[in-house]
Symmetry: C2
Subunit: 226 residues, 2 copies
DNA sequence: GAAACACTTCATTTTGTATTGAACTATTAA
DNA sequence: TTAATAGTTCAATACAAAATGAAGTGTTTC
């Protein structure tokens, strides 16, 4: 077992593979070439690394014509990467002020399948304030008022709650050092506000931008001033 | 940020350091020599690796005379290692039947600060059956009956619930592929049953053995037949 | 106070594995 | 049918980082 853990650790541990995993936290599937660009390496090299990750069943591939799309094979992978990400800020708090610090990604971004960054935390704060969700000993639950709120939003919380996957859980934000909501409910919310064009994903980055419509709606529904 | 993630990944990724982290999942502090034995390497080498982990604030050291005790600097580290551990079974399901498979550690072991393995899952199952805890969409909550049960056990659940740290959460068991309870409540339970001598930790391993007293008590309180 | 122990530091060597370049397959476009 | 694109495979190379061995610090024990 220890040997197997070593294997997984060194699998994620390689810098190039770490970037692959980091990039895939976007939630969508990437082609080998896209990942090569993200990791700033050659095609043969990325191919080798992807092969290793697929063989270990950390990633899955899907061929579409001459493209091969890579993504996490299952949700747990994203959870693990997320957990590793959370180890970071404290480790670097004393370092030089980050030169690579991109404000955009701190403001508003996605975390695998849900909203994170300043906006993610703001949404969560507002929901707590309005008692849409209730916090208790590091756990969130949806209130009955919350069920109505989501329902008015076109999201059937009851239905999501019946599913096997995690419904609502706190996720520590690496830039804010505060919790935002994750789980199927948070994923459904992200889907919805993307569909409604409140926010738009930027290309090749997890950063998202808030539209004018989003600005208005975020104030209306959640009293968030962007 | 990506660069920092790379750093953390390669920090955990080295085989020797992976063993260090794995060993520390025991929850207690280890000396450099103990870790050198666990990782099967030399004193200078383990010292170098430990220095790196401490510098990254993944571990903390405490000097006691000529011994230096190393442990996780914070709870999140254990969570991340745990999350990584859970990626394993699927990754190896197709492999040769594990030759290194030690039954003892599958039966009953600790997972950082709480009970895991077959016994951990059995305890959780029994608690669910008795409605001491309630499961809902991948989350456990303590029932009022449960509060009494723990109280009768000398554990003040209310008090634990007020603390900042996670109170009760599911933790996926790598050997059983099923959930067992984790969080401060599960940690308090482990403390209690260790104190009551139901189980005993074995040296240099996360495996625990069930005592005769434990066998009786597990049946009495949780209807578990060992 | 000397010896044994626990651990670290430094300079050197080793080694595992990532990377590179060339050649190859398969798909799409012209 | 040819050319371009997307990706993989293989053998050779390069390199960063781990391991080693000798020497040093501080602590306990006899």
């Amino acid at each position: 077992m220890e040997a197997q853990f070593k294997q997984i650790a060194s699998l994620i541990g390689d810098p190039t593979r770490a970037v692959i995993m980091w990039t895939l936290m976007d939630g969508k599937a990437f082609t080998a070439t896209e990942l090569a660009i993200a990791a700033n390496t050659s095609a043969p090299n990325i191919s080798m690394h992807l092969a290793k990750l697929v063989q270990a069943e950390l990633l899955s591939v899907e061929s579409q014509g001459r493209h091969r799309y890579y993504k996490f094979s299952r949700e747990e992978i994203a959870y693990a990467i997320e957990a590793m990400t959370n180890l970071l800020p404290a480790a670097n708090s004393r370092r030089k002020a980050d030169s690579e610090d991109i404000p955009a990604i701190k403001q508003c971004r996605t975390c695998y399948d849900h909203l994170a960054g300043k906006l993610g935390v703001a949404v969560t704060d507002s929901m707590l304030k309005q008692r849409i969700i209730i916090e208790r000993s590091n756990n969130f639950t949806l209130s009955s008022k919350g069920k109505q709120w989501f329902s008015g939003f076109g999201i059937d919380a009851e239905l999501l709650q019946q599913q096997r996957r995690s419904f609502l859980r706190p996720c520590l934000d690496w830039s804010e050092r505060r919790y935002h909501i994750a789980g199927s409910l948070a994923a459904a919310l992200l889907d919805k506000i993307l569909f409604e064009d409140w926010i738009r994903k930027s290309k090749n980055s997890r950063a998202v931008v808030i539209t004018a419509k989003g600005q208005k709606s975020l104030y209306k529904y959640l009293q968030i001033i962007v």
